[in-house]
């Protein structure tokens, strides 16, 4: 592990969580969660988290609502939205609610690494 930066991954699908772990696991410390509740719970209890990778389509509370909840409590925390829906409306809504990035599935590992790295440096 090159540094000890922490990333919180929120996705209801195991396949996606594990994929992100494969891509980012060698470079960052990861916490995997599968719902909005777990994510907020984790943010409240874990040591400082540097970045959140957040899925938009989740049952119960969706990613956009979760984003709002995160930004209300942690306005400086960077959040990257991950979605299967490539729509201008969702992207602009995510940006308006304070998302730092927007990644569309199926993603490339380079794309993920680059987006994350940029935010970590900045």
């Amino acid at each position: 592990m090159s540094d000890s930066k922490k990333i919180l991954i929120v996705d209801d699908e195991e396949g996606i969580r594990e994929s992100l772990k494969l891509i980012l696991g060698d470079y960052y410390e990861l916490i995997l969660t599968d719902s909005s509740e777990q994510c907020l719970d984790c943010l409240a209890h874990s040591a400082e988290i540097d970045l959140v990778l957040l899925d938009i389509k989740m049952p119960k509370v969706n990613g956009l609502d979760t984003l709002k909840a995160i930004k209300d409590q942690y306005p400086d925390l960077n959040v990257i939205m991950v979605t299967g829906y490539k729509s201008v409306e969702t992207a602009s809504e995510a940006t308006a609610r304070g998302a730092a990035g927007y990644i569309v599935k199926p993603f490339k590992s380079d794309e993920i690494l680059e987006t994350v790295r940029k935010l970590m440096v900045g």
Partner: protein, 540 residues
């Protein structure tokens, strides 16, 4: 004959002949159907009024006009009751309205007796450019009230039925009926201007043409609608109307010339000649109309009768498949999105495979995730195929209770695991229904699984069936948390799901299957109490 008289005569002739032929046509199309029968009687009443009115407005003597007027009114008094009878039969076929219909017919009979007294029609007298037209007696005003009430009530029933129905074809059919009836009655009612001596008079003939067009629309709604797209109905309606009017002008001229001829030769003035000639020519007109229709079809719709029948059948199928195609299109775009998740994980795992193939932990995860994700893709594709494939339906007489039990046996384990209590309340008279058992089983399974999903901590699942006159009902209710009114609106939308890992296809597929059976599916839910699914299958 002045231009107004000529135009009015033409409008009566057009309306009369159109409705007379439609009355016969609709009746012969299906003699046993109450809708066809009531329509035939109703349109005959209008046709009679319309045709005899020609003699009234063209009568040369006072006595002839008076007799024509009374003959004309013989069916006019029945227009309100036959109209309501037809509307009730058409809009509410599952109910009988014996009392209301009997009251209406009794009132019509009362007015029928009144015709022979001066109370109904005082006399015939000049109005506008007509030499003779009915002059109302006091009874006529009471009839007008009766006419207005039944008309408003009938139109209101059509409107209500069109807003209530959930079937899109039926909805269009009813809204078509609504607008046509409204147009026909507004047009036809202009005739009261002449009776009541209220100007403007010049628009009366134009209003009367509307009654004929109204008849054409009605007949199409009853007989042909399901087999033709609405555009063709309108197109044909207009073209036939023009043809009929053109022919009518020829006929009216013939009647006129023949009458003049008879008067010149025999010096004989009688309404018998007018009515007789009009009727005889009307008889010639019907077969001739078929020939004209045939040529019209060839010229305007480019095809022989057989080809047109074939086109109609294609259109019918198109209408039937239309809804399904729309759903499939939605499904396909939904599948494209749903497939992205498993595709993303597979892509990533395959990308890292060469680098990590010697890591046993990676390989274990790779095996598990790959199997899981391939399974998901396969499942999605299968569901799409099941929904989209126009698989030939395999309809056969089915013991519906046995089918329910077979389906329940598939979920027994799940019921036990979740501590869900199963209760049945099945009718003792389960007549075999014609269904596609495999598809229906799939539909029921989806519903049962949804109910189970809704009760992760146990509850009650109640399945009840009941037999009705026109349908067989299956009720499935659970004691889960219920569905919010907002979600309830989207419950049948493909890809709408609130469940972890739910595809949102279950109920969309279920609805497709039930509709394929000619049935309906409805969901009722109370927050905190549970959800109820009501399936109605036609009882044939």
């Amino acid at each position: 004959m002045n231009p107004f008289q000529l135009n009015l005569s033409l409008s009566y002739l057009f309306t009369g002949l159109t409705l007379l032929s439609l009355s016969l046509f609709v009746y012969l199309k299906d003699k046993t159907n109450p809708i066809n029968k009531t329509f035939a009687v109703y349109s005959f009443c209008i046709a009679w009024w319309s045709l005899v009115s020609i003699s009234l407005i063209n009568a040369t003597t006072h006595a002839a006009a008076l007799i024509a007027d009374k003959i004309c009114l013989l069916t006019v008094v029945f227009i309100p009751s036959t109209f309501l009878h037809f509307i009730l039969t058409f809009c509410k076929p599952s109910q009988t309205h014996k009392i209301l219909i009997r009251i209406c017919y009794s009132i019509s009979f009362f007015f029928l007796i009144l015709i022979f007294t001066p109370l109904f029609v005082k006399d015939v007298s000049p109005v506008y450019k007509l030499k003779y037209f009915s002059a109302p007696g006091s009874g006529y005003y009471i009839f007008l009230i009766f006419f207005a009430i039944t008309t408003y009530y009938g139109i209101w029933i059509v409107y209500q039925a069109s807003t209530k129905t959930k079937n899109s074809i039926r909805k269009q059919q009813l809204s078509y009926l609504f607008w046509a009836t409204l147009g026909g009655y507004i047009g036809g009612s202009l005739n009261f201007n002449l009776v009541l001596r209220i100007p403007p008079y010049s628009i009366v003939p134009w209003g009367t043409y509307f009654v004929g067009i109204y008849g054409i629309v009605l007949a199409y709604v009853i007989v042909k609608y399901r087999f033709l797209s609405i555009n063709i109905v309108v197109q044909r309606g207009i073209i036939y109307s023009i043809t009929i009017t053109t022919l009518s002008i020829t006929y009216l001229l013939l009647v006129f010339v023949l009458e003049k001829f008879a008067q010149a030769i025999f010096r004989y003035h009688s309404i018998t000649v007018s009515v007789g000639t009009a009727f005889a020519l009307g008889l010639v007109f019907i077969p001739l109309r078929h020939r004209v229709q045939y040529f019209m079809d060839r010229y305007f719709f480019k095809g022989s009768a057989d080809e047109i029948a074939e086109q109609n059948e294609l259109l019918r199928r198109e209408v039937a498949q239309g809804e399904k195609h729309k759903a499939v299109a939605t499904l396909a775009s939904g599948i494209a999105h749903e497939i992205r998740n498993p595709l993303t994980s597979l892509k990533t795992f395959f990308e890292y495979y060469p680098k990590k193939k010697n890591d046993p932990a990676f390989m274990a995860k790779f095996n598990r995730i790959a199997t899981q994700e391939f399974g998901r893709i396969e499942n999605l594709v299968q569901q799409l195929l099941d929904f989209a494939r126009p698989s030939p339906a395999n309809f056969q007489p089915t013991d519906i209770h046995r089918l329910i039990e077979d389906t329940l046996s598939l979920i027994e384990g799940k019921l036990h695991d979740r501590k869900i209590h199963l209760a049945r309340n099945l009718t003792t008279d389960p007549r075999p229904l014609t269904t596609d058992p495999n598809k229906l089983k799939q539909a029921l399974l989806n519903i049962f699984l949804n109910a189970i999903e809704a009760m992760p901590n146990g509850g009650n699942l109640l399945i009840s069936t009941s037999l009705h006159v026109s349908h067989f009902t299956i009720h499935v209710s659970d004691t889960g948390p219920g569905i919010t009114p907002e979600d309830l609106k989207h419950i049948f939308d493909p890809f709408f799901s609130r469940k972890d890992g739910g595809t949102g296809l279950g109920l969309a597929i279920t609805q497709g299957i039930i509709e394929e059976h000619g049935g309906t599916i409805e969901v009722k839910s109370t927050m905190g109490k549970g959800t109820e699914i009501i399936i109605k299958l036609p009882n044939n």
